[in-house]
């Protein structure tokens, strides 16, 4: 982690030293594919449109930990009273965005950019219960779904209740990665709690009520029993690996990772997806501009490009298999039918809007993952 910070600092220092041209520093949380997306896809387009500008992308690592590092960096510059922060555009997760808006680390910009009105989903205004309206624009949405091997599972369970019966009839065929091995496991756990605590809406919309803890613990104790019939996998990629090797027949995965692996030939084309009732969570990543970004105007132009229907169609959907960050109705006309269908083969847009849920509010989220350690793991 320290190494990462060092590389980040070194890269930014180097970027600053490059004379004669403006460098736009884009710092992104998430896996390497996020850095690749900016460096290989967005940067050349943006540099061609803006001569003399160089885009430099740096990654801070996967998961909320990656966003946490961006938060720590900006917070340090804020506390140091610095007037020009060395991050122009950041790509962060929901949890961090709530904190960063609250601590005034971000600049409201959505009303200043032409693409601001193309976003329609609730996540552009609300991040895990926090009001982030105006400060963020979703770069993409991703969704956790069950992937299953149709050779082994003829009729996949359509709900958490069916799944619970299914694992008892087919022990050690379902695998997930707990809460310490990546978000697909965490999402499965919060989905389980939404389904079995009977308070799905309350978890997502609030208000937070600490007295709900017993209901959460009760749902988790059911998960403890469920866990006896399943396999624990090592991480998001671990679940995909085990599915592909036929070691498990079903498990929760990120839809974009799944399609990317299939496109790369790392995942059997036979494996299919299903989104169970009452739903699994998904989340966007946000484009944000730090409150004192050195090149705020340029940053806005960069986001205008990144959120344009053309880039959303070709980059976000076609190349990276994410769901678009802006309203799909603006994106569909820019995309050929085959590419559009591919994204919605197993999971229809209707299912997605019905069963694609947000993660619980952050205090509930904390109660659930800590409850998992307390109730399920002990």
């Amino acid at each position: 982690m320290k190494t990462r910070m060092f590389i980040l600092a070194a890269a930014l220092a180097f970027a600053g030293a490059t004379a004669g041209q403006t460098t736009l520093n884009v710092v992104t949380a998430g896996d390497q594919n996020m850095v690749d997306y900016v460096n290989n896809y967005l940067a050349p387009k943006f540099e061609a449109m803006n001569p003399g500008v160089k885009v430099r992308a740096v990654g801070t690592g996967p998961g909320d930990g990656g966003s946490q590092k961006i938060y720590e960096k900006l917070s340090a510059q804020q506390k140091a009273g610095s007037n020009e922060w060395d991050v122009d555009v950041a790509v962060i997760h929901q949890l961090a965005s709530a904190t960063m808006v609250k601590e005034k680390l971000l600049m409201p910009y959505r009303n200043d950019v032409s693409v601001g009105k193309l976003v329609s989903r609730d996540t552009a205004k609300n991040a895990l219960g926090a009001d982030v309206d105006g400060y963020v624009m979703p770069m993409f949405h991703s969704q956790i779904v069950f992937a299953y091997n149709p050779d082994l599972v003829k009729a996949p369970p359509k709900s958490f209740v069916e799944l619970n019966d299914w694992v008892k009839k087919n022990p050690k065929q379902f695998g997930y990665n707990g809460v310490k091995g990546g978000m697909s496991g965490v999402g499965f756990v919060t989905g389980w709690v939404s389904a079995y605590s009977g308070m799905g809406d309350k978890l997502e919309k609030g208000p937070y009520d600490a007295s709900a803890a017993p209901a959460i613990d009760k749902a988790l104790s059911g998960l403890k029993e469920f866990n006896q019939y399943v396999v624990m996998t090592p991480g998001n990629a671990g679940t995909l690996d085990m599915l592909n090797r036929g070691e498990i027949a079903m498990g929760p995965v990120w839809v974009d990772m799944f399609y990317t692996w299939q496109a790369d030939g790392r995942m059997s084309p036979k494996i299919k997806l299903v989104l169970p009732s009452p739903g699994l969570p998904g989340q966007p990543m946000y484009y944000v501009i730090p409150a004192k970004a050195a090149h705020a105007q340029l940053a806005k132009k960069f986001i205008e490009l990144a959120e344009s229907p053309e880039v959303q169609a070709d980059g976000i959907i076609k190349q990276f298999n994410w769901y678009p960050g802006i309203d799909p109705q603006y994106v569909q006309p820019k995309l050929d039918q085959a590419a559009w269908n591919k994204l919605f083969t197993d999971i229809s847009p209707a299912d997605l809007s019905k069963y694609g849920r947000p993660f619980p509010l952050s205090p509930y989220f904390k109660d659930i993952v800590e409850g998992y350690e307390r109730v399920v793991l002990k």
Binding site: D64, K180, P234, E247, E370
Partner: protein
Amino acid sequence: MTAPMGIFRGRGVALALIAPALAVVGLFFVAPLVMSGVVAFRGKGGEFTLEHFRKSFDYYTTDLLFTLAIVLLSTLLIGLVAIAIAGYLTLGGHPRTVAVLRWLYRWPLFIPFVVAGQLMRTFLAKNGMLNHVLIGSGLIEPLSAQSLLDWRGIVVAFVWKQAPFVTLLLAGAMAAVESQHIEAARNLGARRLRVLVDIVLPQVRGTLLVGLVLSFVTMLSVLSVPLMINPNSPTMVTVDVAYRISTHGDYPVANALCLLSLALAAIGAVFYLRHAAAQVEGK
């Protein structure tokens, strides 16, 4: 008049010479350690609290014990493997085998832990390479193949990675043992194993201990291997530390866990210091 000045000047030079090293140690080791201690004992309002330790024990006692058990078992196995390899390198009768072994055993030394973890992840999986080989050679039935990606996987990765390091130290020490001792024992009819256990090992015990203590401490701090092989419960404390920080931004509990693993490492340090002290006294 000149003599005291000279001494003063000499001391000044000496201090100046060690200042950079001291500064590095102070800045990068002592200061973070003190800060870690402060954060681990500080409550929300800045008051002294044991709350973070209470939480650490409440949530992670199993993981602390698991970590200790894994690392102790790995240390034991590393010792056995290192003695076997170093013993053969010293006493082996077949020069070509010795040469091949000498060339081969060092390889894992140059492979980082994270790569070792990645290798094991595909090697030890249920349908991984190891089981394929075992099934292919008829040693096990396909149905009885099981995944070793749990505590066993972590132990295998640790032993594979650290045994060569201890072997390297041990083989060097064994080579320095007076060959007359070995020859005398052999002349009196002692078998090789007996020479190894009764003649060579007692003379290199100190080196073996140092190598094992260093491995013990190294393994306690490895995050990548448990993260890649078995990040689920029970897992090693390093995974919990990373998890507290990256998911909860919870530095106090993470620091409390760090101090607890420091306490585990201190067990190794005690052995190390006692050995070092004994050596100084011996001289």
